[in-house]
């Protein structure tokens, strides 16, 4: 293979260059070495699909991500889970190939296709050996252009999904997450699990999928990113071949109503009587992706419950041994976001866990974090940031996110600079805004008969059976 000899040389040359640069940087001051994306090459297919290509890496591999702005938030009101379900059925048959033929074509060469569903977008991921990139891109084109949704495949997938919902009830953390999403967002398009529910999925028909594909999935709400051992010219050429003639879908992404979260100190207690442990979720409103509060909030959250030395981990795990894991997070979506805390503890410690957690949150809300803590968080987040551009897959993800959410093409390059500029005062401001200034929603999954009596004085409690979350 000629490519091998070439790559070896390139690698050595690159290595030398980086070393030389680093020496200079270190002499000046300890500013972090620059993190840069590989050069991005843009093109548009005749069908209107935008394409981003970035050539990189020494391994003969390519990662592809096709993003469609057709996530679970555009599920019809009585068909929760349809977006995810439709995306998963794409590879169960096209105009030219049966499910078996597709499986064989993809899997024989060692490639893999997968689906990622979120509230805002659907992502189709392809990982392939570089020599099979054209063939795999052609398959991806078929999947989105001409899926056939065979009746029998739809039926089988529906049966499997329904069986899956039943078995999910055995996983307390899945039940907790579902209950949390539903209670937090209510009737908002974000208020259901991306996979839907048993009652809705049960009604899915082939026609539902055909309609969703026709109305929601099209080139004008899509973005293709290709990263790895392939030249931008080849990417543009093969994308044209693979996606020529792709039609349908909306002109522009659907605008969602703004978030209107009602948390008000409610407690949902989901009963799973065989549990010896309680799953705990606490949350309230956060902010949308790309919001100006991102950097101060990221730094503040790292101190509160992000890293392994956070205040929550220290108080709950290290000092009290109440749990194996606790973390807080900001979840950011297009129309709004969540600030949440996720953990678990043994049944009889449930109240203590909640009290200690809320007390830690209240401390940060009132007094913020110290300058030393802020500095630590900044160095931590900045030091590890380069890992987000380490693989073809992660580069493909970050470049699509930048475009889909309008973060700006200098997002990666400026990330650490913006993070380092955060001042203590800003972290106090975001803490005041997001750390439960209104009483949060609390979701508990565990043995209700033991847990309920511990909750006196905490807020109104509703006890529900786990089967509500099938």
């Amino acid at each position: 293979m000629a490519t091998r000899a070439t790559k070896k040389t390139v690698k050595k040359a690159a290595a030398k260059a980086v070393k030389a640069v680093k020496k200079v940087v270190r002499k000046e001051e300890s500013a972090p070495a620059a993190v840069k994306l590989p050069a991005l090459h843009e093109s548009t297919t005749s069908s209107g699909l935008k394409v981003l290509a970035a050539q990189r890496g020494v391994l003969p591999l390519v990662a592809v991500r096709l993003v469609l702005r057709a996530g679970s938030s555009v599920d019809p009101a009585d068909k929760h889970g349809l977006s995810d379900f439709t995306a998963r059925l794409l590879r169960r048959g096209t105009a030219k190939m049966s499910a078996d033929e597709l499986d064989e074509t993809i899997e024989f060469v060692g490639a893999s296709f997968s689906v990622g569903s979120s509230e805002d977008v659907l992502s189709l991921f392809v990982a392939t050996p570089a020599e099979h990139f054209p063939e795999m891109l052609s398959v991806l084109g078929q999947l989105v252009r001409e899926p056939s949704f065979p009746e029998r495949e739809v039926e089988l997938a529906r049966e499997r999904a329904l069986a899956g919902f039943v078995n999910d009830l055995d996983d307390p953390s899945v039940v907790a997450d579902r209950a949390f999403v539903r209670a937090l967002w209510g009737d908002h398009p974000y208020g259901h699990d991306v996979g839907g529910s048993k009652a809705h999925v049960r009604t899915f028909t082939r026609e539902d999928l055909v309609r969703f594909h026709r109305e929601r999935m099209g080139p004008r709400v899509a973005l293709l990113s290709v990263v790895g051992a392939v030249s931008p010219d080849v990417v543009a050429r093969e994308a044209e071949k693979a996606f020529a003639g792709w039609e349908g879908g909306p002109e522009a992404p659907v605008e969602l109503p703004p978030a209107d979260m009602k948390t008000s100190g409610r407690i949902i207690l989901v009963d799973k009587p065989e549990q010896t442990q309680t799953q705990v979720r606490i949350g309230g409103p956060g902010f949308r992706v790309g919001h100006a509060d991102y950097f101060p909030a990221a730094a503040m959250n790292n101190v509160l419950g992000g890293g392994f030395t956070s205040r929550l981990v220290n108080e709950i795990r290290v000092e009290r041994g109440l749990t194996y894991g606790i973390h807080s997070y900001f979840e950011m979506m297009n129309a709004g976001g969540v600030f949440g805390i996720s953990t678990f503890t043994q049944t009889d410690k449930t109240r203590e866990m909640i009290d200690v957690t809320l007390a830690e949150v209240a401390k940060v809300r009132a007094k913020g974090i110290t300058p030393a803590e802020l500095k630590k968080a900044q160095r931590y987040l900045a030091g590890l940031y380069p890992l987000r551009t380490e693989t073809n897959e992660s580069v493909a993800s970050v470049i699509s996110d930048i475009r889909v959410h309008g973060l700006g093409d200098d997002w990666v390059e400026k990330f650490r600079e913006r993070l380092m500029e955060v001042k203590p005062k800003q972290t106090l401001e975001v803490a005041g805004k997001y750390l439960f200034s209104q009483p949060p929603l609390i979701v508990l999954v565990g043995k209700a008969s033991e847990v309920k009596k511990q909750l006196t004085g905490l807020g109104p409690v509703t006890v529900v059976p786990a089967s509500d979350y099938e």
Binding site: A15, R26, G110, L387, P465
Partner: protein, 451 residues
């Protein structure tokens, strides 16, 4: 037992892999082995420390000590006291974690390349002079109990897996769970921990792997400076594999509140170093890798007996087990599913795979192998993994050539040898009714008829 490879002639290093692994190696006078691999693509470094100890080195009464001890390694040493390890690491742009398995205990850090010296200082401090005090031990014991509750007692697959281990192994330490038995965890003493540390955390029982934005020569000098004065420890007692030959199928039931039945099965397999191991990799891929694989197609798509099927052929130092897990439908009859599974396995033993299936498995093994090596962390981990299990990280470079040379005759022979009823253990999950609290039942009558 390890034996001379039957077809060692085919073992040669893969050229793509070899070009990635331009590794500098050294052994310090105290026995610490060091492997350094430069990669300047991004300004980050991964450091892995592999200790050759796991639940395999334990004995009844202190099961779980390897894992509990892994937690204790984060609770302070002489220079960097309690909580300091992660505080110092994180404030220098790094993160850490660790895991324990039956055969190894592994610590790793990813960090900005200018934190290298600090990380070596931190890691060598805890290898040299870990502090084991009673308060930290008590607190960490509670954390591990909570981890046990989440992984085993409140997780059906965890419960089944624990049952299966005791069926497969009668004498070998693989019999108990890595996390340990609850009462053993409660009874481990500070003295147990101190003895354990002296023996298994000595430099001569460890290997460092440093991959990323480093200068290998300077890095080796730093390693010598920080680790050079740590004294050598006693040689660990070799683990005796006293496992008797299994004489027939072993079965157990787990009765637990659950929605659907499930099956977890195992067959006694070979040790990682055995050539059969790689043929079993191929069989595993043919059985469950991808939608078109044999078991997924047969059990999930065609007969629809199962919701999912998974094969776990995990390499181990001593002879391990090939484990199959089947998540069933509510009305599936586990016995029928077993029969369908055995028929598929018998088909591999008698007919082998098609040439295309064989090639497909090889293509996928290669692609996955390459993907694993895409990051510094992946490369460092792969080296450590191969060194513990195969004896040398270099053996990892030759795997593609061994896979490529595997024939259908070998596939048939290996399937016939291992998938026999005499090597089999079966755990069936029998769902028992869930006694819902009265109040919840009253409060949601409409939720109930969803059943």
């Amino acid at each position: 037992m390890p034996k001379a490879p039957a077809n060692s002639a085919v073992r040669k290093a893969d050229p793509v892999l070899q070009s990635l692994f331009d590794v500098q190696e050294a052994t310090l006078p105290n026995g610490l082995r060091v492997r350094l691999l430069a990669n300047h693509d991004t300004p980050v470094v991964s450091l892995y420390t592999f200790f050759q100890v796991g639940s395999r080195n334990e004995r009844p009464g202190i099961t779980g000590i390897s894992h509990l001890f892994e937690h204790m390694m984060f609770n302070g040493a002489k220079k960097y006291g309690p909580k300091k390890f992660d505080q110092v690491l994180e404030s220098n742009g790094g993160r850490s974690n660790a895991y324990t398995s039956t055969d190894m205990t592994v610590y790793y850090e990813d960090f900005a390349s200018d934190a290298l010296e600090t990380v070596l200082d931190l890691e060598s401090d805890r290898m040299r002079s870990l502090r084991i005090d009673d308060d930290a031990l008590e607190s960490e014991r509670q954390v591990v109990m909570e981890e046990r509750r989440v992984r085993v007692d409140n997780d059906i697959t965890g419960t089944m897996d624990e049952e299966l281990g005791t069926l497969i192994w009668k004498a070998h330490a693989y019999r108990w769970p890595v996390i340990g038995w609850e009462k053993d965890i409660a009874n481990i003493t500070r003295k147990d921990c101190e003895d354990y540390f002296r023996t298994y955390y000595a430099p001569n029982n460890a290997v460092l792997y440093i991959c990323g934005d480093i200068d290998p020569k300077k890095t080796l000098a730093l390693v010598r400076r920080y680790y050079g004065d740590i004294p050598k420890g006693p040689s660990p007692v070799p683990v005796l594999n006293a496992e008797p030959v299994q004489k027939g199928e072993r079965r157990a039931e787990v009765r637990h509140p659950a929605q659907s039945p499930a099956l977890m099965l195992a067959w006694h397999g070979p040790a990682a170093r055995d050539e059969d191991t790689l043929v079993l990799d191929i069989i595993q891929y043919a059985l469950t890798k991808g939608e078109g694989s044999r078991l997924v197609k047969k059990l999930v798509y065609e007969t629809q007996l199962a919701v999912s099927v998974m094969v776990d052929w995990g390499w181990r130092v001593d002879p391990g087990a090939i484990i199959v897990y089947l998540e069933l439908k509510q009305d599936s009859d586990p016995r029928k599913v077993e029969e369908a599974l055995y028929a598929e396995l018998a088909r591999v033993a008698t007919e082998g795979l098609t040439e295309r299936e064989l090639q497909k498995a090889k293509n996928n093994l290669r692609a996955d192998h390459l993907r694993e090596l895409a990051t510094n962390s992946g490369r460092a981990h792969a080296m450590g993994h191969y060194e513990v299990l195969l004896g040398s990280w270099r053996d990892g470079l030759t795997l593609p050539s061994v896979y490529a040379a595997a024939t259908n005759e070998r596939v048939k022979a290996v399937a016939a040898k291992y998938f026999s009823p005499e090597r089999r253990s079966v755990v069936t999950l029998i769902p028992t009714p869930d006694k819902t609290t009265d109040e919840a039942a009253d409060g949601a009558a409409d939720g109930k008829d969803a059943e």
